[in-house]
């Protein structure tokens, strides 16, 4: 217990002193995960909107597929991206393996189904509710889409935050495609795994503490946005 308390005190010391290694790892983690989430949101929100508001052959299959992919195991994604980006793989010539770009690609694959599915669900519910009203006021399809996107914006931001939470906390895929190389591809989760295996609990706990704070902050923001977007009627 004493060793644990010592490690915890050392972790707080690292955070308080603004340890350079710690800061570098945090910044790389944020860069990789924020990039992945932005790319996934740029693809996922329009795609989710399209699936929610339109009817086309194979739509149901697409919905089932994206729902299933929400639970995609990160290690499997890492392995797939590894195979594709390895020297003998189809994109080996790009030399992306063991770079932050490879980590971003893996996280986009992990986050995209979450954003697509949550966007579709949100916009579909809104569309069912608004459809007759919007048709009644003779809104064009573009005006309908704009109205639904705007009114669902808080829930869409929540979907993006959920995706970010998944990305920042993920370890399996980034470990495989990033290689956990110091100063190059070491992020919070891979650093925690490494330092814990080495017995350096101070750095591992410090990073874990910051990861927990990020996770809690995301939950608080998501809860606040949901509450703000859904005021209660007075009667």
């Amino acid at each position: 217990m004493e060793a644990f308390l010592d490690a915890f005190a050392a972790a707080l010391g690292l955070i308080a002193s603004g340890d350079r290694d710690l800061i570098r790892i945090i910044l790389l983690s944020l860069k990789v995960s924020l990039s992945a989430v932005c790319i996934a949101a740029l693809i996922g929100i329009p795609l989710g909107g399209l699936i929610a508001l339109s009817r086309f052959p194979g739509r149901q299959a697409l919905i089932v597929m994206f729902n299933a992919l929400m639970g995609l195991p990160p290690v499997v994604v890492g392995l797939m991206v590894y195979v594709v980006l390895s020297r003998s793989g189809p994109f080996g010539v790009l030399n992306l393996l063991f770079t932050p770009t490879a980590m971003i690609i893996a996280q986009v694959i992990l986050v995209l189904p979450i954003i697509v599915s949550l966007t579709r669900q949100t916009l579909h519910s809104l569309w069912l509710e608004y459809r007759e009203t919007l048709q009644s006021v003779a809104a064009t399809p573009a005006q309908c889409l704009a109205a639904v996107l705007w009114d669902g914006r808080f829930m869409l931001i929540t979907a993006v935050l959920v995706g970010f939470g998944r990305a920042i906390a993920e370890v399996g895929a980034v470990m495989i495609v990033g290689g956990n190389i110091d100063n190059v591809t070491r992020v919070m989760t891979t650093a925690i795994a490494l330092e814990a295996s080495k017995g350096d609990l101070a750095l591992a706990l410090g990073l874990g503490f910051i990861l927990l704070m990020i996770s809690m902050a995301l939950n608080i923001i998501a809860h606040g946005l949901t509450a703000f977007g859904e005021p209660e009627s007075r009667s």
């Binding site: 009203t133 048709q135 009644s136 109205a147 005021p231 007075r234 009667s235």
Partner: protein, 279 residues
Amino acid sequence: MKTFPTSDPAIPSPEPGILPLELIGAGLIRDGKRVLKDLNCRIEDGAGGQIADRPAKTFIIGPNGAGKTLFLKLCHGLIQPDEGEVRWHGPAANDGARIKQRQAMVFQRPVLLRRTAWENINFVLKIRGVARAERADRCADLLQQTGLGRHASTQARALSFGEQQRLALARALALDPEILFLDEPTASLDPASAHLVEDLIDQAVASGMKIVMSSHDLGQAKRLADEVIFIHRGRIKERAAAPTFCNRPENDLARDFLEGKLLWWRRRSVYEDGEEQCC
């Protein structure tokens, strides 16, 4: 403050109208059952209630499940008939976009955007291409007129049910429609709110709007209606001037309905009607 455009039936509207509306053998089939059957009626321009034989307020009366809401949605174009047709005969009847723009509907359960009361009205004005400066004035006027002036910046969904219904009406009136469909707009409202809605309806009629409104409130029909269309199990059973219908209905079912004797087994919902199987 001026929200509703004043109209004189002697002065023709500068915009070509879409009325009269005619239902020709219109019917609707849902789950293999005819829920609306052989509807034939013509709905004329109300002329601001100034001409005796041109009813400005047509009430669709009938028990729950009779098909009143479907009738309104069919007229409004939200659903298409499976049999017969719904045809507009006015000068602008060949302009599909104009037909959509010259009508509005208020639903029994108001569906409001997740925005403030002001933004809900502004939204429809923007859709209609009204200039920003004019939009602000009209939003303020309509909110004032519907008693929601102090709620302009309140989230619409945070309003009480009665206020939400008034806001939905204000939003429909903002479109300045030639014909306004109202689906039991005062159901679930307290008497004061219902009275306010009735006043707004009268003002809309005075401005030249035609009102087609469903209700099963006979007292309201007596107070407001110019004519009544009585629907039972998806069919029009009687159409008459309101005083005639209320005092001397010709149809047995209408008489039973007025006397509160329309029994459950004669009042089956259009969806439960097993005798009218189709296909």
